[in-house]
Symmetry: C2
Amino acid sequence: MTVRQLSLPELAEACDELGVASVGLWREPVQAYGLGAAARLVRDAGLTVTTLCRGGFLTAIDPAARAAALADNRRAVEEAAALGTDTLVLVSGGLPAGSRDLRGARERIADALAELGPYAQSHGVRLAIEALHPMYASDRCVVSTLAQALDLAERFPAHQVGVTVDTYHVWWDDSAPEQIARAGAGGRIHSFQLADWTTPLPEGVLNGRGQIGDGSIDMREWKGYVEAAGYTAPIEVELFNEGLWARDGREVLAETAARFMEHVIQ
Amino acid sequence: MTVRQLSLPELAEACDELGVASVGLWREPVQAYGLGAAARLVRDAGLTVTTLCRGGFLTAIDPAARAAALADNRRAVEEAAALGTDTLVLVSGGLPAGSRDLRGARERIADALAELGPYAQSHGVRLAIEALHPMYASDRCVVSTLAQALDLAERFPAHQVGVTVDTYHVWWDDSAPEQIARAGAGGRIHSFQLADWTTPLPEGVLNGRGQIGDGSIDMREWKGYVEAAGYTAPIEVELFNEGLWARDGREVLAETAARFMEHVIQ
């Protein structure tokens, strides 16, 4: 999604040129390209798919909307399996229209996970609940902290449900380091994503994630927390940023790889 | 600030017409009108000043900037005392330019409170640390939760330093109810403010607070929490909203009073 301006073949080629061996994919471009074709493309390119983003939106009250959401999440599980990734990231969903009941919405997520967890397991896929920044609590994700995400995940086996740690969403939270330790001890850090925090936030606050190094987050510090918690899987950089999307995608990918080396690895 | 389009005399008159007996003031319009004149105005109008907003911005590293901030906060204490309110609300400040050290910034706030607390006490004023929504963590306030605000406040006597509970900033936080109980038990709820959460957020996310009843927050629920924690002082409605500011101020004040009755009191 960081370079959504690139087609999947362009992405595979750019990754090859840069020596990037793993990539996180989103469902929409995969569906547009064709699931089977996308799976062949990444396999032929030797790319590992780290995660598929995203399932979720599990907070509907209306039975028909709820059934549709569950069906869509089962499809997402199948897509993840077809792409060869073991992790499906979940953005849980916001409050239904007119509702003010955060607790009720969180319980409906748990109900959905009870159905989806075993289904995912049967496909060799783990679900990774992503705590989204509290500024998304009403319209995208009522799970706002790692503690809340773990409270949900721990109702299920770790090989069915874990969490995504994304620096953009948790960097402000002084309890996040201990929650990362809790997640690691339970084998539940299923994904680790980076984006930097920059201001001013754009209208709608969706597409203002900062390039690594441009903002307020100490990336090495957070990498240290997940590594101390036992995380050894690939690290994703996921930037929703209108400015980056307006630029040449290969240039942005190269810049992102360079920033990753500078601010995360070195 | 909800009706900043009204001058202070217009505000006093509109409050009188609506039977609103108490008002929270901001420093800028008071300073523009003149502190002495403003104090006389509210006294003559029979208005109680609930709080003065705001002191704070205590995170500077640079010694000169730090000294200037402390001096400005001492003036804010004096202004609060002159207006007859016992509460100065603090917005603590964000990260200094180039800094990524949230912990260090929070410690500098504590250092400042050690100086300002006794100064406020000597003027009959209490400081009320306001936890601001985490979306302001980098540029306005590194204190993002009630737990963090209380961790700071509890280093000092309750009659020197407490907290402001603002629904807009804490509504997403499932640990906020227990933190309100903690604050109440310590006699540290120095102010309670309401604003509703509406989306999409505007660019810069400053002036999108929703009119009471328009958004995702159950106001009675939060009033219940602070009342159960022993809060009996006035409740403020503080809306930063370009749409409300563009309308007739008396109309907005009347609407706000009606919404308060409908969604908070009845």
